[in-house]
């Protein structure tokens, strides 16, 4: 009989560790936790939403019909799938317009955010380390106050007799107050203001790592500063540009609060449509269909971007 000694225990422990290492258990756990998290709190809710989108609106609690019904007496099971909500999305051009308008607003504000954010990120990354921390803190600082509060502040700033109009009039740029609030312009201002940090931070992360000697090498080889920028800085910052654009574009497509508070009655965005369907019309199946299609619309650009990055990695 084998005696249990410290050595054999040690060997047993080693065998266990070896088994865990061989089957890469550490890796599985690390990847597994976020996987389970996403499954529980993203995938399952999405399946529920998708299910609701296939049902019919009803005056009940919850306000939609069941997909399955089970007749006990006749032992008769029915599966009723309603594609009407999705068909209606195509029939009524209101929805298509809302999607297109959302994508347009998201695309334009992403570009504006990139144009404003890139120089800011560049200057922060190029400034001396002590100032860098201060400047980064300034970028993040707005997050410390409520998002809603900041949007309300913009309402006050942009209204007819608000400070922005006052300043423009006092310097003689305009004669009478401009209508900014409740227009698309106000929506763009609000979105760009709110999402700028999401653009700056990933850009800063790549630009901070940019080796200064690469820029000097480009100049040494005959590049003027703007050529250096487009031939060296931009290609090397591409991962940050893609990340920043996705971080801005995706949430802006579904943005509800900013267009609702700053936009006019004609500012059409899908987040607003969704909210109206859900709360005003109490049409949960329709709202779910809108949400499902929005997700599909957003997944496509993400997949494209991922593919692009993936290809880059290969040829690197």
């Amino acid at each position: 009989m084998k005696k249990l000694t410290a050595a054999s225990l040690y060997a047993g422990k080693n065998r266990l560790m070896g088994y865990l290492a061989r089957h890469k258990w550490g890796r599985k756990v690390v990847v597994g936790i976020p996987f389970v998290w996403l499954a529980l709190f993203f995938f399952i809710p999405f399946v529920v939403v998708f299910k609701i989108s296939l049902s019919e609106s009803a005056i009940a609690i919850p306000p939609y019909t069941d997909l399955f019904s089970w007749d006990v007496e006749d032992a008769y099971a029915t599966l009723k799938v309603n594609l009407g909500n999705f068909l209606f999305l195509l029939e009524d051009s209101y929805y298509l317009d809302a999607y297109l308008s959302s994508l347009k607003i998201a695309a334009i504000s992403t570009v504006i955010t990139l144009i404003i954010g890139f120089p800011m990120a560049y200057l922060i990354a190029r400034s001396e380390p002590r100032r860098r921390m201060f400047l980064l803190a300034m970028v993040i600082l707005p997050f410390w106050t409520s998002f809603l509060l900041r949007v309300y502040a913009w309402m006050a700033l942009l209204k007819k007799n608000g400070p922005v109009n006052d300043v423009l009039m006092s310097i003689g740029l305009i004669d009478e107050p401009l209508r900014i609030l409740n227009t698309d312009i106000a929506v763009y201002i609000g979105i760009v203001y709110t999402y700028l940090p999401f653009m700056i931070l990933p850009l800063y992360a790549v630009l901070e790592k940019l080796d200064n000697s690469l820029l000097e090498a480009a100049e040494d080889l005959g590049c003027r500063p703007f050529q250096t920028f487009f031939l060296v800085t931009v290609p090397l910052a591409m991962p940050g540009i893609v990340a920043g654009c996705l971080l801005v574009f995706i949430p802006v497509v579904g943005e509800y609060v900013i267009p609702a508070l700053l936009g006019g009655s004609d500012t059409l965005m899908i987040g607003r449509v969704l909210w109206d369907e859900f709360s005003k019309n109490r049409d949960w199946p329709m709202a779910s269909a809108v949400a499902t299609v929005m997700l599909v619309v957003l997944v496509v650009p993400i997949m494209l971007a991922r593919n692009r990055m993936g290809n880059k990695e290969e040829t690197y």
Binding site: D211, S213, E216, A217, D220, L221, G222, C223
Partner: protein, 395 residues
């Protein structure tokens, strides 16, 4: 065997003498009438209240391979960066081929630089990295391809043209960086610690390759390095830098054998230093009484100094001979105990303690396979050397 090899050697020597392209660089710095190619005229560079480069004036001639040698913070890299145009001098002028470089941006200078980190563009292939400079000149596609191929073949990287920098080894990256800096045929090539990132063996091979390329293309090289061995093998001339100043300029042989200060003597190679007082100062020799050496030291060159001035005698470890028997000389002779021996293969390093406690470093070539027994730990030995082995340093 040896006699058979000799004719071949002389033949190749005459060959190189006929070919003007492969002829060794003319030693223009010895000619007082020669026109310098690069002129530093009273260059000073200050960063805040720190003076990185302090009033340096220096002439460098065409087809030289000039090494700026110094420790970190000596200002050698700042000097190089001012040549490339990345830094502007606080005062003074830099002339390249007679043209004042003040206010000329890096992209308009007839200069290319090989960076210490190589600075290869990570998003471009080897080929595109090398073509980068030519494309900026707006050169036609076909010409770019030909030039890139030529230069890559020269540095033996033609077969890896499609690779990205991260797929190359350190030595390969170094070759690509060299090709990229040479492909525009600059008048002046600047190299910042070109061999620093390579291992010893690769470094030795590359040193000779660099020299060949330099001779082949006839480009003027300025190399910055902290590695004195690298400077000794590569350079036609060396400028030793310390605290923003050039302390000595000369051919490697001169710098090593005739250092002008204790700093240079101890910075280049290793050296034994003996403090002493001048007792006899003639035109052809001096005699120094050194308590540190425990006797009289005779050196076969005169110096200009006051009588009884305190001086230092510098003596290289390889110039000392060891013996068990008392040598037949009463100067340049010391007696001590072997305290340590380091076997280096090609030579052995001895640490010898004199009676007064002074430690002397001696190297002896291992001219036979088994010389281990000759001197061993604890042996009492005599150290002696010739009058033309040491130099007297007054500063």
């Amino acid at each position: 065997m040896t006699t058979a090899e000799h004719p071949a050697q002389t033949e190749s020597q005459t060959d190189t003498a006929v070919n003007p392209l492969t002829a060794p660089a003319p030693e223009l710095w010895r000619d007082p009438n020669a026109k310098p190619f690069v002129v530093f005229d009273g260059i000073t560079k200050e960063f805040g209240d720190f003076t990185a480069v302090d009033n340096i004036s220096l002439d460098i001639y065409k087809r030289e391979l000039f090494c700026l040698l110094g420790g970190s913070g000596s200002g050698k890299s700042t000097l190089l960066r001012m040549l490339a145009g990345f830094e502007q001098p606080t005062s003074g002028r830099i002339l390249i081929d007679g043209v004042d470089m003040s206010g000329i941006p890096p992209w308009n200078r007839p200069v290319n630089m090989m960076f210490q980190s190589y600075a290869l563009f990570p998003h471009l292939s080897v080929e595109k990295n090398v073509a980068f400079g030519l494309r900026r000149e707006g050169m036609a596609d076909g010409d770019v391809k030909r030039r890139v191929q030529e230069i890559l073949d020269m540095v033996q990287m033609g077969h890896l043209a499609k690779r990205k920098p991260h797929q190359l080894s350190g030595g390969q990256r170094q070759r690509v960086a060299l090709a990229r800096s040479l492909v525009k045929r600059p008048k002046l090539l600047l190299l910042d610690e070109p061999l620093g990132a390579l291992d010893k063996k690769l470094r030795e091979e590359t040193q000779f390759e660099l020299m060949n390329i330099q001779e082949e293309l006839g480009v003027t090289f300025i190399v910055v390095t902290h590695d004195q061995e690298e400077a000794m093998t590569l350079a036609t001339r060396i400028g030793v830098m310390n605290q923003g100043e050039i302390v000595q300029v000369g051919e490697p042989h001169d710098i090593y054998e005739y250092p002008n200060s204790r700093f240079v003597a101890s910075f280049i190679g290793s050296v034994n230093m003996f403090e002493g007082v001048v007792t006899v100062d003639e035109v052809d020799h001096v005699i120094i009484d050194s308590a540190e050496a425990g006797g009289l030291l005779r050196v076969d060159h005169g110096i200009s100094c006051a009588p009884n001035q305190k001086v230092h005698v510098a003596l290289r470890p390889e110039k000392i001979t060891l013996s068990h028997d008392k040598p037949d000389q009463d100067v340049n002779c010391m007696f001590g105990k072997v305290e340590d021996i380091a076997y280096m293969g090609n030579m052995s390093i001895f640490r010898i303690r004199l009676a007064n406690g002074k430690e002397v470093r001696v190297t002896q070539p291992n001219y036979a396979r088994d010389i281990k027994g000759k001197f061993t730990w604890g042996d009492m030995v005599y150290l002696h050397w010739e009058v033309d082995s040491s130099v007297v340093l007054t500063v």
